[in-house]
Symmetry: C2
Subunit: 140 residues, 2 copies
Amino acid sequence: MRLTAAEARRRLAAARVAYLATVREDGRPHVVPIVFAVDGDVVYSVADPKPKDGPDLLRFRNIRANPSVSLLVDDYDEAWERLWWVRVDGSASVVEAGAERELTIRLLKAKYAQYATWTEPFGAAMVLRIERWASWALAD
Amino acid sequence: MRLTAAEARRRLAAARVAYLATVREDGRPHVVPIVFAVDGDVVYSVADPKPKDGPDLLRFRNIRANPSVSLLVDDYDEAWERLWWVRVDGSASVVEAGAERELTIRLLKAKYAQYATWTEPFGAAMVLRIERWASWALAD
């Protein structure tokens, strides 16, 4: 069954990690875990100061070529009757600088205490405008 | 940094849930959580007897049209220095019947005790031949 719209929204916003699927320029899919924040029908993420190697930011190259993305949150539980997921599909953009990137950083710092102690500069933001919601759960 | 090949393989096989990205016929990405088993360089999954609504099996329609898939496992941890992920890319096929589907069901029942008590028939299998490995972790 589907979650109610309000419950899907609540679970998406509360999730600590999401799985972002994009399409590579050659048409193959790509998926990576991200931290993120939600405000209304927009999902914000940022290339953060965590050390990572270059290929991780393939997601930004993909989005520049094909803005369609799919973002999933779930909560795996060995009691399968408690499984659920929420997925949002939409159009993403990479924001290198400016007010929308600053908002992204504020929202992420508000959600993740881990960012508070870090002083390295953030990278570009990813801003995802949600166009469709999907969800699944056995129990609401 | 990357995990060693052996460690990436160990973590993929041990993970309880994975995130499968496919590409829809219209070129947009799709991502869904799956349970799965690994044997060598092959990932097996099956449309299982869990109740679910139709859209979940969109993944099979996508694979029939475009066999390229990307599969991710991770372990989110609030201590970000412990974050890691393993991703495999490859070519998938949908197997409706026969020995490879029977092998899939055996591997899944061996890995997930949840399947043991269920008697409903399984659906089609998804068989993913791994072509590329990627991984990321701060600490090995």
